[in-house]
Symmetry: C2
Subunit: 301 residues, 2 copies
């Protein structure tokens, strides 16, 4: 069954990712919290804080089931049905402002009729990068790995899901993207071309590409020199990250409004944030260079 | 005309409040930004930052008019009508964690038919306190001043609007209040008992009470000793303030979704914020004492 196979997959992927991140950090370890959802299921939250490399990060899995909550019934335009959902969500906020924040998520959803047959199922997810200083070669590397993971399944996936990512992770109230994008896909359902098994293979290809997409960037930038001004800029930009997650992100808002485990949902929020009134970077600065790219998303590969 | 009289009133109140706050701070001055709304009207934003007493604060007025934006037509369940709205909004985040953050807002709204006659009009507003450490005498003082301002108009106002405030400024996803409340009222329209002139007198009574409600608390606490641990706690609690304003506050979300002036809307966000995973204050600590009150709002007077 796809659901068991995928849940097994994200459990192993969580182990692989947290082991790798701990090895790179060298000091901090992930704290693990197991939690149960009263209505059915639960999760394994792993959070790292105050590390040498990682200031704060969470790599969480969950598998929940039961009656579909009312608010989600309305959202999916279905009645009183049973559901199953599982996924891995991660957000990593490194300490050094030269290392980008990364977010990734891979998830699977099923809905059932009264006899317990699957009446609808889909995959969703993606991975995207939020730099504070723009190293073009890093952006190209991240997107190239995303493209390779996509191309072996369908050559339309990378351009489609890259565009979807740019459109989704967008702070409309600021007229700027959250970061430099990556992949975002949702409602990936069985079609003539793609069975659910094919989608499983695609989503796990992307999941398998995550460390290859992100870790070389961390390794290359984590010991770069930075100033207090660089750190201030990182904290100001992290304010924009908070704005996106709390105002626009559907996953976060759903979690908050459907009685999810708050600390697991909000682990995505950065450790330290500043809001400075009417802040604008200096003309021709590295900070302004980033903003220009966020205003006009680029095709990196 | 009430609209002209009230707009005159909030202009003068802005001057009174910013002058008083500058005098107390002693160092920082308010920066003033005049802005225009392309569709009609504009505002006068005043922001103070990095002061001796006030870490960040905004005292803003605006008066806007024109066609009611589509999103507000849906919200008010009206058609394509003209409107006028003016108000004063303030949020003050003091530096010392022993001094509470304060928020206040007083506003007036009119809608017109095709002939330009007023078909609906109302006042709204309130003032509320968000302490980081609970000094019960401060909470009692703030609520007592609110009550006196209310009681001379209607003895039901204080209990009603205090309860409304507790219900509104509530982080449902945390099961705790944003702060220790104060007053919140909205859609104050002409009735048999209260003409619009009476409401004008009430709302300006509350506006006039603001400095008396807040300033003695600032004076009493601004030089108290505090530690880095106290400051960390303040910054963690300010994260909850951000969560309320970005997830739940109707005014903020409306502003963000109706093309308001972003920097004037988001001046309410605190200067520095921390999100620590699964943070809980120590048992029997001053920090825990605050949380207990936020979980179960108290009748202070």
């Amino acid at each position: 069954m796809i659901k068991d196979k995928f849940y097994q997959y994200i459990q192993e992927l969580q182990n692989t990712i947290t082991s790798k991140l701990e090895a790179i950090d060298g000091i901090a370890r992930f704290r693990e919290d197991l939690w149960e959802r009263p209505e059915g299921g639960g999760g394994r939250t792993r959070v790292i804080e105050n590390g040498h490399v990682f200031e704060k990060g969470g790599v969480n899995i969950s598998a929940v089931h039961g009656k579909l909550p009312k608010s989600m019934q309305a959202y999916f335009k279905v009645g009183d049905v049973d559901f199953f959902a599982c996924g891995l969500s991660l957000v990593i906020h490194p300490k050094n402002p030269m290392v980008p924040t990364v977010h990734a998520n891979w998830r699977y959803f099923e809905m059932y009729n009264d006899s317990g047959d699957i009446v609808d199922s889909w995959f969703g997810g993606g991975q995207d990068l939020t730099p504070y200083y723009l190293f073009e070669e890093d952006a190209i590397h991240f997107h190239s790995v995303c493209k390779v993971a996509c191309d072996r399944h369908d050559i339309h996936f990378y351009p489609d899901f890259k565009a979807h990512c740019d459109a989704y992770f967008y702070n409309t109230h600021r007229n700027e993207a959250r970061g430099i994008g990556g992949l975002f896909f949702d409602y990936c359902k069985a079609t003539e071309d793609m069975s659910m098994e094919d989608w499983y293979n695609y989503v796990t290809s992307v999941g398998n590409s995550f460390l290859e997409a992100y870790i070389p960037i961390v390794e290359k930038r984590k010991e770069l020199h930075y100033t207090k001004a660089n750190k201030d800029w990182q904290e100001i930009r992290r304010g924009r990250y908070v704005e996106f997650n709390l105002v626009h992100d559907k996953g976060t808002l759903f979690g908050l409004k459907t009685n999810g485990r708050i600390e697991s949902i909000l682990m995505s929020l950065p450790p330290r944030v500043q809001w400075v009134y009417d802040h604008h970077p200096k003309s021709e600065s590295e900070e302004e260079k980033l903003i220009k790219v966020l205003k006009n998303p680029i095709d990196w590969v």
